[in-house]
C-alpha cells in the first residue's frame, strides 16, 4: 500500500517586492515570482511525511498560466517526483469556487477521490499572499468528499495510518486526528521549507511537467459552465484605492531619550496633525434608462449567521457579525429577518444573548458530540439548514472556523464566498450584457493586494456567502429583554461526518479578549525580541499600575519565532484591535500589521529605522533605539504620564 502525497501550490509575486508605484497603485509587474509562502510549508510537510513513508509517491499540482512551471520545478528540486499543471484559457478569471472545482476535477481524473483504494493526502498552504482567501483547500476537500484540517502548523503520522494535526485556533491550538484520505492546509509557522538541493535542481531541470487542460481532466460540459470569468459564482465588480485616513505623523525631536520622550509628551498634549479631507469626487451615475430591474433571489429570503461557541460563550466576532447583519436587513427592508444558527452542547441558554444583540430567530442544534466546533458536522448541519430555510445571505465571522466553514458550505450550495470582508452593503449590479439591473445584491468589500485596495465582490448564487473580519464591526448595542423565535433543528448526519476527532483543545488566556477592551495596547515587533519583550511587558504593566486598561501584544514575527502566543498577535492574520492608544515598538509596519491597528485612536511608533513603514501610519513617532527610549517612557508613566488617557 503505497501512500501518495499531493501538494497543491500556487505561484505568486514576491510579497516584499510588491511596492507602491509612483501612481499609488500596487506594482506587481516588477515583482519576482515565488511559491506562495504558505504553500512552501505545505510542500515541506509533505517531505516530512515522506520520512515516515519512504516509498510515498510525491506529486505536486498547480493551476495557472504556463509560467507556473517554474514553481513546480522548484518543488521537484525540493524532493517531489511528479508535477501537474492545470492550464487552460477557459480557467482565466476563475474565483475560488471555480478553482476548487477545477483542481478537484483534475485530482479525480488522476484517481484521487473519496473512493480511492490507495491512501493519499493532499497538502496545501493556508492561503495565498495575492488572494488571501484560504478557500481552496476547503473547497477541494468538499469537492472530493474527504475530511480536512486547515490552519495546521504541524502534523504527526500515526502508525495506524491516521494523522494527528495541530490546528491553530483563536488563542490556542487544537489537536485533531484525521483519517486518510484528507486535505490539510498549513500555516507558515510549522517546519520551515527546505532549500532545494543541487541534485534536486538537476533532476528538476530535466523533469517533465504534465500539462493538463479542462478537456484532458474530463471536466463535464455542465461543470465547465462554472469555471473561468463567466462561470464563477462571484465576480469582482470594482476595485478602489484605500486612501489613508490618518494625517501625517508628528516626529518627536531631541538629542537623547529624555528629550525625545519630553517631546512626545508635549506633542500628545498639543494633539497631532489634522487630516485635510480631499473633496469627494461625485460619482457619475451610470445610465440605467431602459434597463429592467430584476430580482434573482427567488424564494431565498433573510440573513443567516452562525454563532460560534467558545468556552461555553458566544465568541465576540459572532456577536460583532450581527452589526452588518442588521445593517443589511435594514437595507433590504420589508420583513427581512436575521436568523442565527447555534450549535453545540447545552447551548440553549445562549440564545437570549443573540436576541439581545439583534438576532430575530435562533436555530438550535444541540448534540453532546458537538461541544467543540468540528468542520465536517458543522458544515453539514449549516448546509441542511440553508437548504431548509433558504436564506439569501449567509454570514460568518472570519475566524479560523468561519474561514474554513464558509468555503466548504459554499461548495455544497454552489455559492461563491467572499473572505474577510470589512464592508457589507446592499446594492445593484448593472448587467450590461443582458440589459438588466440585478437588485438587490450583496456588495462584499474586502481589502486586497496587501490592503492597498478595496475590492467589491458580488455573488450570483444564493445564498451569497461572506465572512466578516473580526474586530472590524462594533458589537451591536445590547437591548435587554429583547427576544425572538427559538427553532429546534435536528440534522441527519451519517457516521462519515465524525471521521475526524478532536484529541485536545488548548486555549491560553481565554483568547485574550482583554486586547479588545484595552484602552492602550503596547505592542512589540521583531526589534524587541532581543530581551524577550521584557520592556514591552514592563511598559504595559506600568500603565496598568497607573489604573489604565492596558495590555501587551505583538506582531506576527514575534509569534512565529515563539516569543508570544498567537492570541497576542495583532494584524491581518491575528487580531484587529481598536484601542484609544496603540504603542508600536520595534514594529516595521508591514501592511498586514497595519490592517489590524488602523482603527486605533492614536498610534505612537518607536523604531530605530527612520524609514520604517510604521511611521507612515502613526500619529506620533520617535526614532531611536527602543532599549533607550522605553525605559525612559516607563519612568515617565510611573510619574503619571498616561498618553493623554483618563485614569479609571
Amino acid at each position: 500500500m503505497a501512500l501518495t502525497i499531493i501538494s497543491l501550490i500556487k505561484q505568486v509575486p514576491l510579497p516584499s517586492e510588491m511596492r507602491m508605484g509612483d501612481d499609488g497603485l500596487m506594482d506587481r509587474t516588477k515583482a519576482k515570482s515565488i511559491i506562495n509562502i504558505d504553500c512552501q510549508f505545505g510542500l515541506e510537510a509533505g517531505l516530512q511525511l515522506k520520512k515516515k513513508y519512504p516509498d510515498a509517491r510525491m506529486i505536486v499540482c498547480s493551476m495557472g498560466p504556463a509560467s507556473f512551471e517554474t514553481a513546480l520545478r522548484t518543488a521537484i528540486s525540493m524532493g517531489y517526483d511528479e508535477a501537474y499543471l492545470l492550464s487552460d484559457r477557459k480557467l482565466g478569471g476563475s474565483d475560488t469556487y471555480a478553482t476548487g472545482l477545477a483542481i478537484s476535477t483534475m485530482l479525480r481524473s488522476m484517481g484521487f477521490s473519496k473512493d480511492s483504494k490507495e491512501p493519499f493526502v493532499i497538502f496545501a498552504g493556508r492561503q495565498t499572499s495575492d488572494g488571501d482567501t484560504a478557500h481552496v483547500p476547503s473547497q477541494v476537500a468538499e469537492a472530493l468528499g474527504i475530511p480536512q484540517a486547515t490552519f495546521v502548523e504541524r502534523i504527526e503520522p500515526n502508525d495506524d495510518g491516521t494523522i494527528t494535526a495541530r490546528r491553530i485556533i483563536e488563542g490556542g491550538y487544537q489537536m485533531l486526528k484525521l483519517p486518510m484520505p484528507c486535505v490539510i492546509s498549513f500555516t507558515p509557522t510549522g517546519i520551515k521549507p527546505r532549500k532545494p538541493s543541487l541534485i534536486g535542481a538537476i533532476k528538476a531541470r530535466r523533469a517533465t511537467i504534465n500539462m493538463r487542460t479542462v478537456d484532458d481532466i474530463g471536466m463535464s460540459a455542465e461543470a465547465q459552465q462554472h469555471i473561468g470569468i463567466n462561470g464563477s459564482p462571484t465576480i469582482v465588480a470594482g476595485v478602489e484605492n484605500i486612501e489613508s485616513d490618518r494625517p501625517p505623523i508628528v516626529m518627536c525631536s531631541g538629542q537623547n531619550e529624555e528629550q525625545l520622550v519630553d517631546s512626545l509628551m508635549d506633542n500628545i498634549k498639543k494633539g497631532g496633525n489634522k487630516l485635510e479631507k480631499k473633496a469627494e469626487k461625485t460619482k457619475k451615475e451610470a445610465d440605467t434608462t431602459g434597463l429592467e430591474a430584476v430580482d434573482l433571489r427567488g424564494d431565498n429570503k433573510g440573513i443567516l449567521t452562525w454563532a460560534e461557541v467558545v468556552n461555553g460563550k458566544i465568541a465576540r466576532p459572532s456577536i460583532e457579525l450581527l452589526t452588518p447583519a442588521r445593517h443589511l436587513a435594514d437595507q433590504l427592508g420589508g420583513d427581512t429577518k436575521i436568523t442565527t444558527v447555534l450549535i453545540g452542547k447545552n447551548v440553549r441558554p445562549l440564545a437570549p444573548t443573540l436576541f439581545e444583540h439583534g438576532s430575530d430567530k435562533v436555530i438550535i442544534v444541540e448534540n453532546d458530540k458537538l461541544e467543540e466546533y468540528l468542520i465536517l458536522p458543522f458544515a453539514e448541519i449549516i448546509t441542511q439548514i440553508i437548504h431548509q430555510y433558504k436564506p439569501e445571505i449567509t454570514l460568518f465571522a472570519a475566524t479560523t472556523a468561519g474561514r474554513e466553514l464558509a468555503p466548504r458550505i459554499g461548495m455544497k450550495t454552489g455559492s461563491g464566498v467572499t473572505a474577510d470582508c470589512t464592508g457589507l452593503e446592499i446594492g445593484d449590479y448593472i448587467d450590461k450584457k443582458n440589459k438588466r439591473i440585478i437588485r438587490p445584491i450583496l456588495h462584499s468589500r474586502r481589502p486586497t493586494y496587501g490592503e492597498s485596495k478595496l475590492a467589491t465582490i458580488l455573488g450570483f448564487v444564493y445564498p451569497q456567502i461572506s465572512t466578516a473580519r473580526a474586530g472590524t464591526f462594533a458589537v451591536p448595542e445590547r437591548v435587554e429583554g429583547r427576544t425572538g423565535e427559538v427553532i429546534d433543528f435536528t440534522p441527519s448526519l451519517n457516521a462519515d461526518t465524525y471521521a475526524t476527532s478532536i484529541l485536545e483543545t488548548v486555549r491560553g488566556e481565554g483568547g485574550l479578549a482583554s486586547l479588545f477592551e484595552a484602552d492602550i495596547i503596547v505592542a512589540g515587533g521583531r526589534g524587541t525580541t532581543g530581551d524577550d519583550l521584557k520592556l514591552v511587558k514592563e511598559l504595559a504593566q506600568a500603565l496598568k499600575d497607573q489604573g489604565l486598561k492596558a495590555e501587551w501584544a505583538c506582531s506576527r514575527v514575534v509569534v512565529d519565532e515563539g516569543y508570544a502566543e498567537y492570541a497576542r498577535q495583532i494584524g491581518q492574520t491575528g487580531k484587529t484591535v481598536r484601542p484609544k492608544v496603540y504603542v508600536a515598538i520595534g514594529i516595521s509596519g508591514a501592511i498586514q500589521h497595519i490592517a489590524g491597528i488602523k482603527e486605533s485612536g492614536i498610534i505612537v511608533a518607536i523604531d530605530q529605522n527612520p524609514k520604517a513603514n510604521i511611521f507612515r501610519y502613526a500619529d506620533f513617532g520617535i526614532c531611536g533605539l527602543y532599549q533607550d527610549i522605553v525605559p525612559e517612557l516607563i519612568e515617565r508613566v510611573r510619574q503619571g504620564f498616561t498618553f493623554g488617557l483618563e485614569k479609571h
Binding site: R194, K195, S197, L198, N609
Partner: protein, 553 residues
C-alpha cells in the same frame, strides 16, 4: 539517498571568467566533436545578482570569446563618448587633467552593467549546452585519496547557528568532476582555502585589494549623457593618504553609476570607504550628477590589484583558478573583465587539451599558463607589474614611481616591488595618525538628499540571508578579537565594512565591549576577510541564493 553528481567540468562561479571558461570550452569541444558535461554553479539567487563592476569594458575580449556573434547583440549599455579625468584638489575645487595617464584611456570602450553582460553570457553558454545552476553555494573542496581536487560540495542547509541539524536539513550535494574551475571572484572562499592548502602564493607577492562602493542613480534628463565617462583623483582619499579614485559613468535611460574605489592598505583603523564615498559625492564636481538623483541600487566589491607579481599559481592537478580569484586584473585602469575572459578562455584551452589527452594532472593543465602568456593578459599585466606597489607610500611617491616605471618599461628603479597583506597595514589606535578618520568625517555635511546611512543603502543592494544557518562570518579567535582587535584597533571592521555587518556593543553597566555580527547585511565583498587586523575574520559562504540581488550594477 544518493547525494553525488558526477560531471566532467565543474565551474564554481558564473561571473565573466567562469562563463568565458564554459563558453570557450563548450565551443572547443563541439568543434572537435567531443561531448562533455559542463556544470556552472553560482551562489547568487540568479546569474548576475552577485556581479558588480564600474564598468567600462574593453570589448575586444568579447569579440574573441564570441566570434560568431553579431557584436551589437552584446548588451553593452553605451559606447564611451567622452572620457575625462579630474583632479579634485580639495572639497570645493577641481581641475581637469589635460591628458590621460598612460594605460587609462577609454576610447573604443563601452559602459556596461556587468550583471547584464553576465546574464547574456549565461544565455549564450546555455545555448551551447552548458548547465548553469544559480542559487547554490559550494562550501567545501572535495579531495581524492591522493589529496588532489576532485570536485566540490554544496553547503548543508537546514542547520541552526550552532550547526545542529534542523528538521528541514538537506545535505549539500557532492559534485565530482574531472576538472574543477574556481571562478569565485575576488578572494574566493574556496580558492582561498586551496591557495593556502597547496601553497599557491609561495614566492609571489601577497595579493592586495581595493574596495569599490557604487551607487546607481536615476537622474533627470540632461544630467549626463550615456557614454560620458569621468574619473576623479584626489579628494577625499588623498587627504588621508589613501590610494584610489572615483568614477562617474553616464548610462542610457538617464542613469548614472557613481563609485569610489580605494585601496585597502590604509593605516587608519577607523577609515571607512563608505563614508569617504558619501563625502566624495558632496564635492561640487560630483554633486552635480547626483543632486537630483533617485537611488536605484547600491553595492560594494573588492578588487585584487596586486598585479602581475601577486598572481597566484593558477593550475594544479584537476583544477584551475580563473579571473579575480587568481588576481587577473590590470592596473592602473582597474580593468579586470577582459582579463577574466582571457583567463577563462586560456583555462578552457588547457581543459580541452586535458580531455583530448585524458590527463587532468598539472602536466596538461600547465598549458593554462602558456596560453595566458600568449594572450593579451601577459602584455597588459607585465608592463604595469610594479604600478600599485609604488603607491603604498602615498600618491606623490606613487606618481614618481609610476613615472620611473614608464621610462623603464615597468621595472622602475627598484626591480620587483613587494606588497604586504592589507590587514598588516592597519595601525593600532595608539599608533595611527591623528585625528582618526572617525573623528574627522562627522565634520563633513553628508546629510544631503543623495547621502544615506549605510544601513539604508544596504536595503538598495537587495541583500538577504536565511535565518537558519551558521553565521557565515567567523571570528577566528574570540578572545584575541576582544583583546587585540577591539581593545587595540577599535575593531576596524565596524568602520570599513560597507554593509554595517559588524557592531561593537558596549554593555551599559559593565562597559564590556563585544562584537555583534549582522550577517544579514553582508554584501559578499570579503573586505573583512582581507582587512581585519591579524586576519581575525574568515568569510565563509552562506546558503545559496543569499546575498545581494544586483540588477544593473
Amino acid at each position: 539517498m544518493n547525494n553525488t553528481v558526477k560531471t566532467d567540468v565543474l565551474i564554481i562561479g558564473a561571473g565573466p571568467s567562469g562563463l568565458a571558461t564554459a563558453i570557450h570550452l563548450a565551443d572547443l569541444l563541439k568543434t572537435n566533436g567531443i561531448e562533455k558535461q559542463i556544470i556552472v554553479v553560482d551562489k547568487g539567487q540568479s546569474v548576475g545578482s552577485h556581479i558588480l563592476s564600474g564598468a567600462v569594458i574593453k570589448p575586444q575580449a568579447f569579440r574573441d570569446l564570441l566570434p560568431d556573434v553579431n557584436f551589437d547583440e552584446i548588451p553593452f549599455d553605451s559606447k564611451v563618448a567622452s572620457d575625462e579625468m579630474y583632479f579634485l584638489q580639495n572639497e570645493k575645487s577641481s581641475l581637469k587633467v589635460p591628458f590621460h595617464p598612460p594605460y587609462m584611456g577609454n576610447s573604443g570602450n563601452y559602459c556596461a552593467s556587468l550583471c547584464e553582460i553576465c546574464r547574456y553570457l549565461a544565455a549564450k553558454a546555455t545555448e551551447k549546452g552548458v548547465d548553469i545552476y544559480p542559487g547554490f553555494s559550494m562550501s567545501d573542496i572535495l579531495y581524492d585519496e591522493k589529496g588532489d581536487v576532485a570536485g566540490a560540495k554544496c553547503i548543508d542547509t537546514g542547520i541552526d547557528h550552532d550547526g545542529n541539524k534542523l528538521e528541514n536539513f538537506v545535505e549539500g550535494t557532492r559534485v565530482e568532476a574531472s576538472i574543477t574551475i574556481f571562478a569565485e571572484g575576488t578572494r574566493g572562499s574556496l580558492a582561498k582555502k586551496l591557495i593556502e592548502k597547496k601553497n599557491l602564493q609561495q614566492g609571489r607577492n601577497p595579493q592586495i585589494y581595493s574596495l569599490g562602493v557604487k551607487e546607481l542613480f536615476s537622474v533627470p534628463e540632461g544630467t549626463i549623457k550615456a557614454g560620458e565617462v569621468y574619473h576623479t583623483m584626489g579628494f577625499p582619499a588623498m587627504n588621508d593618504n589613501v590610494f584610489g579614485g572615483g568614477f562617474i559613468y553616464g548610462l542610457k535611460d538617464n542613469k548614472v553609476a557613481v563609485g569610489l574605489v580605494l585601496g585597502l592598505d590604509f593605516t587608519d583603523p577607523t577609515y571607512d570607504i563608505y563614508h569617504a564615498f558619501q563625502i566624495w559625492k558632496t564635492h561640487p564636481f560630483v554633486e552635480k550628477f547626483v543632486k537630483e538623483g533617485k537611488i536605484l541600487e547600491y553595492g560594494a566589491k573588492t578588487l585584487p590589484e596586486g598585479g602581475y607579481y601577486s598572481l597566484t599559481k593558477y593550475f594544479l592537478n584537476n583544477a584551475m583558478i580563473v579571473g579575480d580569484s587568481a588576481g587577473f586584473l590590470a592596473m592602473p585602469a582597474l580593468k579586470g573583465i577582459h582579463l577574466s575572459i582571457y583567463s577563462g578562455m586560456s583555462a578552457a584551452k588547457a581543459a580541452y587539451d586535458a580531455f583530448v589527452k585524458n590527463d587532468f594532472s598539472k602536466n596538461t593543465l600547465k598549458n593554462y599558463e602558456q596560453y595566458v602568456q600568449q594572450s593579451p593578459i601577459y602584455k597588459e599585466m607585465y608592463k604595469c607589474r610594479n604600478f600599485r606597489q609604488g603607491f603604498t607610500k602615498g600618491t606623490l611617491v606613487g606618481m614618481f614611481n609610476f613615472g620611473t616605471q614608464l621610462i623603464t618599461g615597468g621595472a622602475g628603479f627598484a626591480g620587483k616591488l613587494a606588497t604586504h597583506n592589507d590587514y598588516r597595514s592597519t595601525k593600532t589606535v595608539d599608533n595611527a595618525k591623528k585625528p582618526l578618520f572617525k573623528d574627522k568625517w562627522a565634520s563633513y555635511d553628508i546629510d544631503k538628499p543623495y547621502n544615506r546611512s549605510k544601513v539604508d543603502d544596504v536595503y538598495y543592494s537587495g541583500t538577504q540571508h536565511d535565518e537558519e544557518q551558521r553565521i557565515h562570518l567567523h571570528i577566528n579567535n574570540e578572545k584575541e578579537f576582544r583583546d587585540i582587535n577591539i581593545k587595540k584597533y577599535d575593531a576596524p571592521c565596524q568602520y570599513f565594512c560597507p554593509g554595517e555587518v559588524f557592531e561593537i556593543h558596549t554593555d551599559k553597566t559593565t562597559g564590556k565591549k563585544e562584537i555583534r555580527i549582522h550577517n544579514e547585511n553582508c554584501l559578499h565583498c570579503k573586505s573583512c576577510d582581507i582587512k581585519e587586523p591579524h586576519a581575525a575574520i574568515t568569510w565563509n559562504v552562506p546558503n545559496g541564493g543569499n546575498g545581494p540581488d544586483y540588477k544593473y550594477m
